[in-house]
Subunit: 221 residues, 2 copies
């Protein structure tokens, strides 16, 4: 692997495990057993590393929240969405953990993030409409935009919420699945009688992972 | 007003309007036309000012989310809660805007915040149970804890979400009321036929404020 790629990989790993704000370029160089000068040859500063990671994040979102085929089953669209959310939170948890700060200090990233945000809102909107059209849920059309925003906020700030609301702030796979359970609960009251069992079955699957009863597997990679 | 109190008042005002991370003790002193030395006589550093504000925040939460009388109407408990949420977000928006960072850098504040969090969770839990017992909503008892967490997250990170998801990041009264509308939507699918009109009436009241159709008034102070 090229040094540049190794730096990016190590940075993601250290940011995720120790928090972006606690990791300096010197930590990253030391972790890789390279000199700070060697690191600076590839990236002028931490901000440039984060921009590079952000491009990877944008690609990841593009691929994992792939466009849905028109014929696709609505329940499958829902589980694909949840799995893609898990994957994003799992691989880039430091971004979610410190999003407002990272956005505030780099206007360029902010613009890129807003584009990703808008695309994600489209996906969530599409997910809700697909569930509605397929008869899985039944809700007022006028509430769809607000529900989409609630879901987006729930996903984006789940890590920040978890870290600020409990003593134990470690980001584990189980914790991320607990976040997915909350997203499922947002849909639950709208689920029609016909689809109650199908959605309950999905809930059970994610609950088992949230409870650590089955090893959480990363299917997306 | 004593200099100490003027410093606290000016700090809250500047933190709220310019973001806590953009305001230094020098800004605060200059805003008050006092010397940095005079400010340092009262507070050793910004962290000490924030701790002092945090005590005011804790008092504010204690008073505005007051204990409910047993005889109180469930709908009234709901509007009291929403108004208290508005008041907290309005007066201390900088805390919500930068909560994870403030918690991360001051373990003492973190402990205090966790206590406030737990109390707020009790209030939300009590609100949901009151609505359930009064027949305003009908939901599975096993979902109450999760719904309480969703509401808490929605309130606590509404400002961060708004600031990271749109170009225009100004915190206005209308924006805060838009956040309250989201909380109401979280209850809406559980509302019983009997109380549908009563809850719709509340929604209209807050929607009018969110849309800026009536001047938002701060009743709590």
């Amino acid at each position: 692997m090229k040094t540049k790629d190794r730096i990016i990989e190590a940075s993601i790993e250290l940011f995720n495990s120790q928090g972006e704000r606690n990791v300096t370029t010197n930590h990253i160089a030391s972790h890789l057993n390279i000199s700070p000068g060697n690191l600076y040859y590839h990236f002028r500063n931490k901000e440039e590393i984060i921009r590079h990671i952000f491009t990877k994040y944008a690609d990841h979102m593009q691929v994992s929240f792939e466009p849905v085929k028109p014929s696709q089953d609505a329940i499958k669209i829902l589980t694909n969405y949840l799995d893609a959310v898990f994957s994003a939170l799992y691989h880039f948890n430091f971004l979610y953990d410190n999003l407002p700060v990272i956005m505030a200090r780099d206007p360029e990233l902010r613009v890129q993030y807003l584009q990703i945000h808008d695309k994600m809102m489209e996906k969530i909107h599409h997910l809700i409409v697909s569930l509605q059209v397929a008869g899985v849920i039944n809700m007022d059309n006028s509430d769809i935009d607000d529900l989409a925003n609630i879901i987006k906020q729930q996903v984006t700030f789940w890590i920040s919420y978890s870290k600020t609301s409990s003593e134990d702030s470690e980001i584990t796979e189980q914790l991320l699945y607990k976040g997915l359970m909350k997203v499922l609960l947002l849909f639950k009251p709208y689920v029609t009688a016909e689809y109650k069992d199908a959605v309950a079955e999905i809930s059970e699957k994610y609950r088992a992972r949230a409870d650590g009863l089955v090893p959480a597997t990363e299917d997306e990679e």
